[in-house]
C-alpha cells in the first residue's frame, strides 16, 4: 500500500452517547440471559428466571434503540456529505477486516466438524477391542456417538436420519446463488444510475433471502419432528445445527441489512460514486453466500 495525499480534513465525529448505551444494553442482555438459563442446572435458583428475562428485554430494547440511533446518525452524516474519499476508504478497510473476523468465527465450527468427523469419532471406534467401553460402535459418519453416561445422566444414542443434500438444501443453494447474482445486478444498476434496476434487484435479493430463511425454518421443523435429528444428536446434531444455525442467523442479519439498504435506495440515497453502505452489505451478503457453499458441501453433501 503506497502513500496517498489527502484533500481537506478527516471527519472526526462529535462525542456520542450511543456506544455507552449499547454496552449497557449488551451487559443487561447477557447477564439476563445467564440468569434465565441458570435454573436448567440448579432448580433452587428458579426465581432468577423472571428477573433475567426482564433484564434481557431491557437490554434488547436498548440495543435496538442504539441500532436505530447510531445507524441513523451515520446515514445522516453520509447524506450530509461528511464522508469523502478518505473516510470512505476507512469504512472499506474496516468492513474487510470485520468480515475476516467472521470467517475466523465460522472456521472454529468447521474445525470442530473436521475434528469430530476425522479424528474423534473414528478414534472412539478404534480403541483396542480388549479395553474399549464402546464395543459395538462403528464410528461411521454421520454419528451421534457411542452413548454413555454424561455427568451422571444416561445419554442414549438417539436414532435419527441425517439431512439429505438434494432436497431443500439444494433449493436453498440455488436461492442464495441467485441472490448473489441479483445483488450484483442491483449494483450494476446503481453504477449506471439506473435506480429502477437497483430497487428491483434489491427487492429480489431480499425476497430470496426471506425464502431461504423460510425453507430453513421448515427444514429444522422437519428435522425435529420427523427425522429425530436434534441439537442433542451427538456429534452430527451439534455440528449440523450450530453451523447451519449460525449461518441462518447471519442470513437474517444480512436480510435486515438489505431491507435497510432497499429502503434507503427507495428514498433516493446512494450515488454511482458514493455508496459504501450498499457495498458493505453486498460484501457481507457474498460472504454469507460463500459460507453456505462450504456448508452445503461439507455438512449436507459429503
Amino acid at each position: 500500500m503506497t502513500t496517498q495525499t489527502h484533500e481537506g480534513h478527516y471527519f472526526v465525529p462529535n462525542p456520542s452517547i450511543y456506544p455507552a448505551i449499547l454496552s449497557t444494553g449488551i451487559l443487561l442482555l447477557v447477564a439476563g440471559f445467564i440468569l434465565s438459563i441458570t435454573p436448567d442446572r440448579d432448580q433452587t435458583l428458579a426465581y432468577l428466571a423472571t428477573p433475567g428475562k426482564g433484564m434481557m428485554l431491557a437490554g434488547f430494547l436498548a440495543i435496538i434503540y442504539v441500532l436505530f440511533g447510531w445507524f441513523g446518525k451515520i446515514v445522516g452524516e453520509s447524506e450530509g456529505g461528511k464522508y469523502k474519499k478518505w473516510e470512505d476508504r476507512s469504512f472499506r478497510i474496516g468492513m474487510i477486516v470485520f468480515i475476516a473476523s467472521e470467517v475466523a468465527f465460522f472456521a472454529a465450527f468447521f474445525g470442530a466438524l473436521f475434528y469430530m468427523r476425522v479424528i474423534s469419532v473414528p478414534e472412539i471406534a478404534n480403541f483396542d477391542p480388549q479395553f474399549t467401553p464402546y464395543k459395538d460402535f462403528l464410528g461411521t459418519w454421520p454419528s451421534a456417538g457411542p452413548g454413555g453416561t454424561v455427568l451422571g445422566t444416561e445419554y442414549k444414542v438417539p436414532q435419527f436420519t441425517p439431512m439429505g443434500a438434494w432436497g431443500i438444501p439444494a433449493i436453498n443453494t440455488l436461492l442464495l446463488l441467485t441472490s448473489g447474482a441479483t445483488v450484483t445486478w442491483a449494483h450494476w444498476g446503481l453504477l449506471n444510475s439506473n435506480r429502477r434496476q437497483l430497487i428491483i434487484g434489491l427487492m429480489m435479493t431480499v425476497a430470496l433471502g426471506i425464502a431461504f430463511l423460510f425453507l430453513q425454518g421448515y427444514e429444522y421443523h422437519h428435522a425435529y419432528s420427523e427425522l429425530g435429528l436434534t441439537l442433542g444428536s451427538g456429534a452430527y446434531g451439534a455440528t449440523f445445527f450450530m453451523l447451519t444455525g449460525f449461518h441462518g442467523f447471519h442470513v437474517t442479519l444480512g436480510t435486515i441489512m438489505l431491507i435497510v439498504i432497499l429502503a434507503r435506495s427507495m428514498k433516493g440515497h446512494f450515488t454511482a460514486d458514493h455508496h459504501f453502505g450498499f457495498e458493505g452489505v453486498a460484501w457481507y451478503w457474498h460472504f454469507v453466500d460463500v459460507v453456505w457453499l462450504l456448508l452445503f458441501v461439507l455438512v449436507y453433501w459429503l
Binding site: 462529535n14 452517547i17 474496516g94 469430530m116 456417538g145
Partner: protein, 528 residues
C-alpha cells in the same frame, strides 16, 4: 485523570462524566484504557496476593480450595484480558495517531465502544464473587483461565459469566483491531510508507492481524462450551462422539497467538526506548519487521505444545515441538537487534531505559525456559508444575507488563505534560525487578522439584521456597503503589515537559507540544 488534557478547555466537548462516556477523542479513549488497565492490574494483583498468602505455609489456612481455584482463574483472566491487553490498546490509541501523523483514530465512535465494552466484561468476571455472598451460585469460574472441559461443563454459574465476559472482551478486541488496522492503512501522513512506519505501529499491526484471526475462534469455542452446558450438544463429550481435547485445540489455537498478541506491542515499543537512550538509530529495522511477521505466522501453527501430555500422536508431538522451537530463530534476531541498538551507544539510564534493559534480560529468561517446555521429552516432566508458572510470568509479567511500564515512563511526560519523579521511578524499577525475581526464581525450583500448580496445599519440602516466593510477591505488589503514586503526581503537576522530552527520541509524537493539543495533527505533516 481529567487533567491530562485539561489545558484545552476551549475544545468542544462535554465535561465531567459525560466527557468520558461520550468521547470520540483518541487521547481520551487511550487515557481510559490505561486507567482501566491500571485499576484491573491492582485488582488482579490483589487476588493473587491472597493466593500467595494461602501458599505462604503448607496446609489450608485462609481459604477453601474452591475459592483458591476461583482466585487463580480470575487473576489470569483479569491480568491478560483486563490489564495487559487494554494497556497495549491504550498506548495504541494514544500513540498511533501521533506517530503516524493522523488527526485521530480512523473510526472514533467504534473506538469508544471498544473501550466501553470492557467495564461490563469486568463486571461479568467479578460479579459471581458478589452473587455468591447472596447465596446465588458458588462463586466465579474455578477452572483456571483455560476453561478446560469437562471441568468447565460441570462448573457453576461462574463459568457462564466468564463465557460471556470473554465474548465481550473479544468483541472489544476485534473492534480495537479493526480500528488499529484501518488507522495504519489509511491514516498515515503523506510520505510515510509502511517501511518508514515506527516499529510500535508494526508490532501493533501484526497484533491486530492475530486478534482478528484467533479471537473469533475463542468465541466459537466458548459458545460450544455454553451449548454443551445448557443446550444438550456433545462437542466435548465422548459419549456423543465429541472430545474434551477438541476444546484444548480450539482454546490454544487462540491461546498461543494470544501470547504474541500480548508481547508484539511491547516488542514494538522497546526499540523506540533503546534507540532514544542509546542515542542511536534502531538497529535492523527491516530485520525486526520480518521477525514480527515470522513470529506472527508461526504463532498460529504451534498451539498443541500447551498440551503435549494429553496423548497426542507422536508425529503431532514432533511437529509441534519443532515448529515451536523454530520461533526462537526470529526471536533471536530480535534480541540481537535490541542489543545491537545499544552497542557503543552513548547510553543513559533514566527509568524507561532501566525498564527496557531489565526487560531484555528477564524476558530472555522467559524465552529460554520456554525452550525447555517446548521439548516434548522434558515437558512430560515439567508440565503443569510451578516451572510453567514461573516461565510464563517471566514472559507475561517481565516481557509484557514491565515492557508496558517502560512505555508508561517513556510516554507519560508526553501525555501529561509533566515530568514524573525520576527518583521514585528508579526506586520502582529496582524494587520491581528484584521482587519479581525473588517471587519467581523459587518457583522454577519448586517446579523442578515437582510441585504441581493450581493446588492450595503442598508437601512440607516445598515450604521454604514458597515462603520466599510469597515475600517476593507482597514486595512486588506493594512496589506497584509507588508507580501509582508517581503517575498520579505526574498527572497533577510537576516540572513542565518539553515537546521533545528525551534528547535521543525520534518520531512524530515528539514534534507536538507536551501534552499534545486535543486534536492531534489537524494538518498532516509530510514525511520525506
Amino acid at each position: 485523570m481529567s487533567t491530562a488534557t485539561a489545558a484545552h478547555h476551549h475544545d468542544d466537548h462535554p465535561t465531567g462524566i459525560m466527557r468520558w462516556l461520550t468521547t470520540t477523542n483518541h487521547k481520551d479513549i487511550g487515557t481510559m484504557y490505561l486507567t482501566f488497565s491500571l485499576i484491573m492490574f491492582l485488582v488482579g494483583g490483589s487476588m493473587i496476593l491472597a493466593v500467595r498468602a494461602e501458599l505462604f505455609q503448607p496446609g489450608l489456612q485462609l481459604m477453601q480450595p474452591e475459592f483458591f481455584n476461583q482466585l487463580i482463574g480470575v487473576h489470569a483472566l483479569v491480568m491478560i484480558f483486563a490489564a495487559l491487553m487494554p494497556a497495549a490498546t491504550g498506548f495504541a490509541n494514544w500513540m498511533l495517531p501521533l506517530q503516524l501523523g493522523a488527526p485521530d483514530m480512523a473510526l472514533p465512535r467504534l473506538n469508544n465502544w471498544g473501550f466501553w465494552l470492557l467495564p461490563p466484561a469486568a463486571i461479568l468476571l467479578t460479579a459471581p464473587f458478589i452473587l455468591a455472598l447472596f447465596g446465588i451460585g458458588d462463586g466465579a469460574i474455578a477452572t483456571g483461565w483455560t476453561f478446560y472441559t469437562p471441568l468447565s461443563v460441570q462448573g457453576g454459574i461462574g463459568v457462564d459469566f466468564a463465557i460471556f465476559a470473554v465474548h465481550l472482551l473479544g468483541i472489544s478486541s476485534v473492534m480495537g483491531s479493526i480500528n488499529v488496522l484501518v488507522t495504519i492503512f489509511n491514516m498515515r501522513a503523506p510520505g510515510m510508507t509502511l517501511m518508514k512506519m515506527p516499529l510500535f505501529a508494526w508490532g501493533w499491526m501484526i497484533t491486530a492481524f492475530l486478534l482478528i484471526a484467533t479471537i473469533p475462534v475463542l468465541a466459537g469455542a466458548v459458545t460450544m462450551l455454553l451449548t454443551d452446558r445448557h443446550f444438550g450438544t456433545h462437542f466435548f463429550d465422548a459419549a456423543g462422539g465429541g472430545d474434551p481435547i477438541l476444546f484444548q485445540h480450539l482454546f490454544w489455537f487462540f491461546g498461543h497467538p494470544e501470547v504474541y498478541i500480548l508481547l508484539l506491542p511491547v516488542w514494538g515499543l522497546i526499540p523506540h526506548i533503546l534507540s532514544a537512550f542509546s542515542r542511536k538509530p534502531t538497529y535492523g529495522y527491516k530485520a525486526q519487521i520480518y521477525s514480527f511477521w515470522a513470529i506472527g505466522i508461526l504463532s498460529v501453527v504451534v498451539w498443541a505444545h500447551h498440551f503435549f501430555t494429553v496423548g497426542l500422536p507422536i508425529p503431532a508431538l514432533l511437529y509441534f515441538m519443532y515448529s515451536t522451537m523454530a520461533i526462537s530463530l526470529p526471536l533471536a534476531v530480535l534480541f540481537f537487534c535490541w542489543i545491537a541498538t545499544m552497542w557503543k551507544g552513548s547510553m543513559t539510564f533514566e527509568t524507561p531505559m532501566l525498564f527496557a534493559t531489565g526487560w531484555i534480560i528477564l524476558f530472555g529468561i522467559g524465552g529460554l525456559t520456554g525452550l525447555i517446555l517446548a521439548d516434548v521429552a522434558a515437558d512430560a516432566q515439567y508440565h503443569h508444575s510451578y516451572f510453567v508458572v514461573a516461565h510464563f510470568h517471566y514472559t507475561l509479567f517481565a516481557g509484557g507488563i514491565m515492557g508496558i511500564m517502560a512505555g508508561v515512563y517513556y510516554w507519560l511526560p508526553k501525555m501529561t505534560g509533566h515530568m514524573y519523579s525520576e527518583t521514585l521511578g528508579k526506586l520502582h524499577f529496582w524494587l520491581t525487578a528484584i521482587a519479581f525475581n525473588v517471587t519467581f526464581i523459587p518457583q522454577f525450583f519448586l517446579g523442578l522439584a515437582g510441585m504441581p500448580r493450581r493446588i492450595p496445599d503442598y508437601a512440607l519440602q516445598f515450604s521454604e521456597f514458597n515462603m520466599i516466593s510469597t515475600i517476593g510477591a507482597f514486595t512486588l505488589g506493594l512496589s506497584q503503589l509507588i508507580m501509582v503514586y508517581n503517575i498520579v503526581r505526574c498527572v497533577r503537576g510537576g516540572k513542565k515537559a518539553e515537546a521533545k522530552v528525551w534528547e535521543g527520541a525520534e518520531g512524530l509524537e515528539w514534534t507536538l507540544p507536551s501534552p499534545p493539543p486535543y486534536h492531534s495533527f489537524t494538518e498532516q505533516p509530510v514525511i520525506k
